[in-house]
Amino acid sequence: MHELAIAESVVDTVLRRTEGRPVSVVRLRIGRLSGVVPDALSFAFEVAAVGTPLQGSTLELEQPQGEAKCRDCGERFVLHDLILLCPCGSADVEVVAGRELAVASVEVS
């Protein structure tokens, strides 16, 4: 259940950057290969936000898909899981997207 630790990091980051102003929306970018479960994170966020200016705020998740680049054929392709296999048959591929774990923006008043 590392989503609780992730949620607490989100709350800490937003609190530090918004200096206590009321926050109504928190937008995260959570890549599909990041190892974070969106539902678990949303649940944990509600808990972590209690007693802070983020309490009751809406969590919006953007979930970029995984993408990889093959070091052999140079092709860039969609990666649905962490099995690193290019359509050309090569397993020598680099993950170039999908591992994002970032606070993108917030809505403050």
Binding site: D12, Q55, I83
Partner: protein
């Protein structure tokens, strides 16, 4: 608890085992304030605006891990982050590692509760700090920082971090380690790499333990290795039996070259 900076009443306890009286260390010196205002009213009519933050969620942990790494580099200390499910034989492997190591070894033990593992390491002849995470399921960079302060590893030594037994959560948290090693035992089954791709995909080395039990379990070593290579084409794998000592020379050699 504040899992990111590890401070406050988070239930984490750091204990140096075997120093006569076991000392507990809780203090940390960085300021940390959470502004606690009243929950806001998000009803219509309140004008809001967008604030772009664009900050990595784990930026604080990653910064602290980078700080740990620099601190360790300055002292020529090598850190191996040892991760696995509970019961894979990490502590037994460490007991044998300590006995056969050519350089000083000390250990940071992570478990939710008890000093059992640190006491075993101490009995095996190495210095050990136990980090008890309470409800926590992984170690983070701050816990390791606090443990390093207690441990004060000597110049040029090897520190092994035995992470909390868990094939999921520890994969996400950089501790400032030099290398990541995942231990998997044959009794766990050969299907583990693809079931836990984040963990096995982040490893620099996989140690396959309890190979002395291979005749008694349905574990296909070829399938295990082939699945690992689907995650990392060049992954290094060392089969060992910590119990019988088979393969431990290869493991010690790998450690020497880290």
């Amino acid at each position: 608890m504040c899992a990111t900076c590890g401070c406050g009443s988070d239930g984490v306890r750091v204990t140096l085992v075997g120093a006569g009286t076991e000392t507990h260390q809780h203090a940390h010196d960085h300021p940390h304030e959470h502004p606690h205002s009243q929950a806001h009213d998000s009803a219509a009519g309140i004008r809001t605006h967008t604030l772009e933050l664009e900050e990595a969620v784990l930026a604080r942990n990653d910064d602290l891990a980078a700080h740990n790494r620099a601190w360790l580099d300055e002292r020529g200390v090598t850190v191996v982050n040892l991760m696995s499910s509970p019961g894979s034989g990490k502590t037994t492997l460490l007991e044998k590692t300590i006995a056969g190591s050519t350089r000083p070894v000390s250990v940071i033990e992570g478990d939710q509760e008890t000093l059992y593992d640190a006491q075993r390491i101490r009995a095996a002849g190495a210095r050990a700090v136990q980090v008890n995470t309470g409800s926590g399921c992984h170690l983070d960079a701050v816990m390791v920082r606090r443990a390093l302060d207690e441990l004060a590893p000597e110049h040029g030594s090897l520190v092994v971090v035995e992470n909390v037994g868990n094939l999921v959560c520890p994969a996400l948290f950089d501790l400032g380690e030099t290398r990541r090693v995942v231990v998997c035992s044959v009794t766990e089954g050969d299907d583990k790499p693809l079931k836990y791709p984040h963990m096995f995909g982040s490893a620099d080395l996989v140690v396959l333990n309890k190979t002395d039990l291979l005749p008694y379990v349905d574990f296909d070593v070829e399938r295990f290795e082939s699945d690992l290579r689907k995650l990392q084409v060049g992954i290094e794998i060392i089969p060992v039996s910590a119990r019988t000592g088979a393969g431990l020379d290869d493991w010690q050699e790998w450690l020497t070259n880290v």
